[in-house]
């Protein structure tokens, strides 16, 4: 489990890092930690899996690309095999197993809007299963934070 200092750090690090030559020193000043300690704790949290990634979040849409939530009804006996096939696509940014007949939910991130339909079609060919696409029509919340 994370101690209070690491919890405070992860809460802070979900917000934007200052554009500073020494960003970890800047964050450390806000929290009363040394630069070395900030770096060591982020490394520790990455190794422990509490932080899956640390760095820039790119917006595919702003680069002319697109994101799309997709779902598949995967027969339970084929789940691991299909997961391996789907995860092998670099366009698959996240993939979750959920407790529903539509058991596999993933996000495609592609460099062009056409890339979504194209990638979904390639996943259908590879797995032999239909892919449902749920593009966002409206976003009602911007940002994503959890409190540790």
């Amino acid at each position: 489990m994370l101690d209070d200092t690491s919890r405070a750090l992860i809460n802070r690090l979900q917000d934007d890092l200052p554009m500073d030559s020494r960003p970890f020193a800047a964050v450390g000043r806000e929290l009363g930690l040394s630069e070395d300690e900030v770096i060591a704790r982020i490394k520790e949290m990455k190794e422990a899996g509490a932080v899956t990634r640390f760095g820039p979040f790119f917006d595919a849409a702003a680069m002319g690309g697109a994101f799309c939530l997709c779902a598949m009804e995967v027969p339970p006996e084929r789940f691991e095999e299909v997961m391996t096939e789907v995860n092998a696509f670099p366009e698959v940014a996240h993939n979750y197993e959920r407790d529903h007949a539509l058991s596999m939910w993933f996000v495609l991130a592609t460099e062009t809007p056409e890339g979504i339909a194209d990638t979904a079609a390639r996943i259908e060919r590879e797995t032999g299963l239909p892919v449902l696409c749920f593009p966002k029509l409206q976003e009602f919340f911007i940002g994503f934070r959890v409190t540790a």
């Binding site: 554009m19 030559s21 996240h94 529903h100």
Partner: protein, 164 residues
């Protein structure tokens, strides 16, 4: 001789998509790899932020490891005439982290058009929040469901395909 102006946004993205190096001067290290100056790289990243290409430079947490072990994707069949107003109200709830209107897929038996992600430390907590959303939507919602996550199968940032 490579100059900073010849380095494309694409090359900068490729250099950073695996994450920021965890060293005192991370931009200096990435700039050296790209063959550009640290100041140039910081300026370019700032411009990419201003354009919205970079949303933020931050940590992606693993909710499970933070004790947020219950993660429910709540889905709602909301009257189309009310979705803009009601979606905004659901999206404003403090425990909703993502909230979108998405198309229905009637051929696949999927009638839900509003998706709201709810996190909690227990399923009971998530169920209580789901009941609050149901009360908020009232008669404008015909049916709803909740899909709990069982496992993260993959979680990476955006990956560009190799060119050439």
């Amino acid at each position: 001789m490579t100059t900073a102006t010849e380095i494309s946004d694409r090359e900068i993205i490729a250099a950073l998509q695996g994450g920021l190096p965890l060293v005192a001067k991370p931009y200096a290290e990435v700039a050296a790899r790209l063959g550009m100056g640290e100041d140039d790289l910081i300026r370019r990243l700032q411009a990419m932020k201003d354009q919205g290409v970079i949303r933020r430079i931050a940590a992606a947490p693993n909710h499970y490891k933070l004790g947020m072990v219950a993660n429910g994707m709540t889905v709602w069949d909301v009257d189309d005439a009310s979705i803009a107003e009601l979606g905004a109200r659901v999206g404003a709830l403090p425990y909703v982290t993502h909230c979108y209107e998405r198309p229905r897929a009637p051929d696949a038996g999927w009638r839900y058009n509003l998706f709201a992600m709810v996190h909690g430390s227990t399923r009971e907590e998530v169920e209580a929040k789901r009941a609050e959303i149901a009360a908020l939507l009232g008669d404008a919602c015909r049916s709803h469901s909740i899909l709990y996550s069982k496992r993260i199968l993959k979680k990476t940032g955006l990956r560009l395909r190799k060119r050439g």
